[in-house]
Amino acid sequence: MNAALARAAGWWTILCIALEERLVYRGDFALGTLMRFLPIVTQIFLWWAIFDTIGHGTRDSANIVGYSFSNMVAYYLLTMVSRAFSSMPGLASGIALQIRSGEIKKYLIQPIGMLEFLLLSRLAHKLAYYSVAVLPFLLVFSICRGYFVDGWPAWDLLAGYVAALLMSFLLGFFLEASIGLIGFWFLEVSSLLFIYMLFNFFLSGHMFPLDMLPAPWDRLVSMLPLKYLAYYPAAIFLGKVPREELIGELWIEAGWVVFFIVTARVAYRLGVRRYSGYGG
């Protein structure tokens, strides 16, 4: 019991210190938080033009594979939320850099796990981000509430949405951490990361709703874990996941989370065995 409490106290301290670190550079933090909204504006304008063209000037009557213009805007706003949970900027490249420079030593000599430490630091960064971004998020959603034509989902879907979001954070973290840990073998993972980001961009649903894909690609993509990073939480919120499939899908997502937790842990263990103390 005492050991568990001491561990929790340690986690809490890491969380607080990582939070403090995040707030040191106030200007950069504020700018980074607010600028997150810019890409979505450009995407909305792009789809605006597409729907206008298809609807011959009346975009509200146009429809692309079951998506109206309102559905599309709502979808993008929701994927923005998903990605705020699941994206891990700098995680994989940071791990590879620490391996290359030898900084990783500190996790080997101190009684703390690297993955546990990085997870808590990342959680702190997300908390700091949300505590500031919640207001602009509310403002944007309030302005755009008209695009959510079906209103709020039922409570069970909402609960599924929150669960999918929380798991997308863990999935994003352990997936990127696994890529970063490949640095134990390749030292440099930037090309690998570029390929991953490319696939992530298209296959997570960040670029377009995945149910727009024709067969057999839709089935293929739905078997990959990437859809849980952006598309899937948004699809639950918009009622595009049949209620009877929700629990099963959430279990599959949980399975992927466990798979990448195990992958990252095994990669770390094997990598440390291979590690020869780069960086003097």
Partner: protein, 339 residues
């Protein structure tokens, strides 16, 4: 039982040999040549509790690799080591809570936050209770004179101040064994002296075991009674600092002050002339020839003053290192080609 017991410890690794030029780079995509670096070779060493031992050796001698092995950062190719009964590379938390490693060129503190925050984190990681943490912190900051710097971001501290903070972070959990890898590298003489004094006081007071690597002989002579020379991955000497001269130097330095009007030209026949600054001259003379050379000198010259001394320690050590380097140049280098 000794605190540190090392037996036939070896560490080798393969290093990619990149040839110069674009063509070689392209060839390297398919076929690479590697050279085996034998960083540590069958080192045997025993260190008792409370000893302060210096590791001396040229760059690339294997000193830091040995410290990395003992702190569990890397695993050996062969051999065994036990520190306080633990096998370091098993990285048990029970072991990690009892030692610390400080590397002069690596920063373990949070760069953008005051050192106090890193110390708070160390308190939790090492599970030091609040009262003991505060007492230790107060004592260490007072001894190192950094009490007023605790709330300043680490990035705004000078190199010397940062090293003091690194030492505090390493000692907050009161380790029984401390590994120091060039802790005074790059520091000015004032900061070097302050850290030396602190280490000396702390080690004597707490009787902890310290292994130190340093290129500064002043660090070594101020702190360590026992010295280990490592070169080319092998242990070449294990004994007292003064014993290095007896063991490795076959010469003495004779300094003569000749009376006015004496000719210096013939001095070279008594030994190797090191320096002439009339009326003073320095000669290097083989240790066993010193009595006969002195008798000959005193009968051939009118001498105002004479001194027979051991050569400076730095010179002896440099000579030892260069001898080892010469032997190592063509030493059983293994090469291999891997895809």
């Amino acid at each position: 039982m000794a605190t540190i017991e090392i037996e036939k410890l070896s560490k080798s690794y393969w290093v990619y040999q990149k040839q110069e030029g674009l063509r070689a780079s392209l060839r390297g995509l398919f076929r690479r040549e590697y050279r085996e670096v034998r960083a540590v070779r069958e080192v045997d060493l025993t260190v008792e509790q409370g000893e302060f031992v210096a590791f001396l050796g040229p760059n690339g001698a294997g000193k830091t690799t040995t410290l990395k092995l003992l702190s569990g950062v890397i695993s050996p190719s062969s051999g065994t080591a036990r520190v306080m009964g633990h096998v370091p590379w098993q990285r048990e938390n029970a072991y990690r809570r009892r030692f610390a490693l400080v590397m002069g060129q690596k920063n373990q503190l949070w760069w953008d936050l005051p050192a106090q925050e890193s110390f708070r984190l160390h308190q939790q990681i090492y599970r030091v209770d609040g009262q003991r943490f505060q007492q230790t912190l107060d004592e260490l900051t007072r001894l190192l004179g950094v009490t007023n710097l605790l709330h300043q971001p680490v990035r705004e501290l000078s190199l010397g101040e940062r090293m003091k903070m690194e030492l505090i972070a390493a000692l907050l959990h009161s380790p029984d064994v401390l590994f120091l890898d060039e802790p005074t590298i790059g520091l000015d003489v004032v900061a070097q002296h302050a850290i030396q004094q602190f280490l000396k006081y702390y080690q004597q007071k707490r009787r902890i075991t310290i292994l130190l690597t340093s290129h500064y002989m002043k660090d070594v002579s101020a702190l360590c009674k026992r010295v280990v020379i490592i070169a080319d991955g092998r242990l070449h000497y294990d004994g007292s600092l003064s014993g290095i001269v007896d063991r490795f130097s076959g010469h003495k330095v004779v300094t003569l002050h000749l009376a006015e009007g004496q000719a210096f030209e013939q001095l070279a026949r008594f030994g190797t002339l090191l320096e002439i600054e009339p009326p003073k001259a320095k000669l290097r003379v083989a240790r066993r020839q010193v009595p006969s050379v002195m008798a000959a000198l005193l009968s051939a010259y009118t001498v105002d003053d004479v001194a027979v001394e051991d050569p400076p320690l730095e010179d002896v050590i440099a000579e030892v290192f260069s001898r080892v380097d010469d032997v190592a140049v063509d030493h059983d280098v293994r090469q291999a080609v891997f895809p």
